[in-house]
Point group: C2
Chain length 340, copies 2
């Protein structure tokens, strides 16, 4: 798909919209559509640190989500900077006053866009990576009769306590920083965001990846510090707002499908799912380890299959960071789409 | 050993002492001795976050390092707050001006105390956990004819790049914090140290440990946040100085036995070792993973044996945090001591 054919970002206004932490006077969901609305619909929502552009790893002609065969809809999470976010919401819910948003709030909004605005009656599939995988689980639990298939890549139905604990790290580094100012920074809080990136970095890959010096990318980076400056500080500094980062992190940290209907436990919540699931953890993921997926698949029974990504790239294996893993994941998605 | 019999901390003054990052006008090594100097000598140096008191997990009558059988010497690392540290060194090398200290600087100082002050001719064993295990490796490489046996529990001969990267996290959180003031804080930098502790916390245990809710300690802590406040913020706030924490972290981050004699690689450096080694990683340690130990033991050949601690406690399994693991480790040390 050439840049000239690149679909424009659309903005759906929900009006006054109740969310977990309060209300948004005019909530906006940003999304893009690819292909013909008459084709089977596939939803591919964003993960942490992603914009709608990031979704192009899986969307395009010849890719798993091929717009010649499917009507692909990509959704931006609330607080990603494109949908309603601390950085783009007017007073009084701007910046640090932006209300807490749950995954349920996001999926309910996406459902509205699909059904009210795009006229979709059924989802052939929802597929997501990381926070996107968590959204896939939420879709399947919230709308069991609407979703036929879902794919959770390096994601989970409930954010584990260890994952919550890991996220406390970057959050604490940013909020304690000398330039965060309780969210009232006047310009990009360089100290806080750089610290956030450094804290985050070691979690994203498996230990073996560093042992193999893959962080040098064949000489692109001369040492660990260069790698951290360019990839982990630079990336967040260039395209992220600190309050957005924290609001989105909160959605992640509090994710739990058992909360949706007040189920007594994870197994009960997952028992509501009617869709077929493809659960793809990465062997070396440090925050969504395969063990959590194994437990979920046990609860899902015949409704889901587990396929482990055998990679040293850790969490980011599922995000398309390594071409070989991306090819494997795409192959699995295509096969899963083709199954009855 | 009752408190009344508790040996006093002694302080050895090295006078003007050259270290990696410069000089200390009067370097001090803090240590304690347990038992009769005529018995075989065992050295047990401190790890990160430890004081000489911390060493009592392994030292005492009926424990692996029994003062009735051995002359046990525990050493405090430079920058732990007991030996020369940013917090106790006078102007001009106080606080943030304290010079960088290597493991070699520490071991050279410990060797002086043992040979010049205590009259020790031979070490039956050096045993250490974490940074202590790294010191054990340094002992064996630096003084191959002086050390008969060494035990590295959840430690490594060289700090891996992933471990360096993990340590960048707590370091960045503390140095970017609003009250660290470039090391010139007038009182305890609460924001910085609390953030440091939160960043550190998720690394210390295996993911399964949190999944089993072991962080609640049977109801002692009501939730993750309570656990983090009391264990990870409280512990550092009560007994640590921020500049000490950073200076000690630097020693850890730059540890590498191959630097000692300028060896071309890790294998060459480990080839200098004559002592018998017992290498005990924990199966779920996230920063000293068993894979690194396997590589080291391969390089060490017949001179070392690998015994993996089969525990969900992650790194802290080797630090005596769990009685069952402590018993296992003590048993292995006793057996190793008894071997020819």
């Amino acid at each position: 798909m050439s840049n000239g054919n690149q679909p424009q970002t659309q903005y759906y206004h929900h009006g006054r919209y109740q969310v977990k932490g309060g209300v948004l006077p005019d909530a906006v969901t940003a999304f893009r559509t690819y292909g013909n609305p008459g084709n089977p619909c596939i939803v591919f929502p964003t993960c942490y640190g992603a914009k709608l552009d990031s979704q192009l790893s899986h969307v395009g002609e010849g890719k798993a989500l091929d717009p010649r065969k499917y009507f692909v809809v990509t959704f931006a999470l609330f607080a990603n900077g494109e949908s309603s976010s601390p950085s783009n919401t007017p007073v009084p819910y701007n910046g640090p006053y932006f209300p807490a948003i749950s995954y349920e709030d996001n999926i309910r909004a996406q459902y509205t866009v699909l059904t009210k605005h795009l006229g979709i009656k059924k989802l052939r599939m929802v597929v997501g990576f990381s926070m996107g995988g968590q959204q896939a689980y939420h879709w399947a639990v919230m709308y069991p009769d609407f979703v036929e298939k879902y794919v959770a890549i390096c994601g989970s139905a409930r954010t584990s306590v260890h994952n919550q604990c890991f996220l406390e790290g970057p959050k604490a580094a940013l909020t304690a920083s000398k330039d965060f100012e309780g969210g009232h920074y006047k310009s990009t809080p360089q100290h806080g965001i750089r610290a956030f990136g450094r804290v985050y970095s070691a979690w994203a890959y498996g230990q073996t990846w560093f042992r193999e010096n893959q962080h040098l990318y064949g000489g692109t980076y001369s040492d660990l510090n260069t790698f951290l400056h360019e990839i982990w500080e630079g990336r967040y500094l260039e395209s992220w707002d600190a309050n957005d980062m924290l609001a989105l992190l909160n959605t992640w940290q509090t994710g739990d499908v058992a909360k949706i209907h007040g189920d007594p436990d994870l197994q009960s919540a997952l028992g509501r799912i009617k869709a077929k699931g493809l659960i793809m953890p990465c062997k070396t993921d440090l925050y969504f380890p395969p063990e959590d997926s194994e437990i979920e698949v046990k609860y899902l029974g015949d409704n889901a299959k587990l396929v482990v990504i055998d990679s040293v790239w850790g969490h980011v294996a599922g995000g398309g960071a390594n071409p070989e893993d991306l090819k494997f994941v795409q192959g699995q998605i295509e096969q899963f789409l083709g199954e009855e």
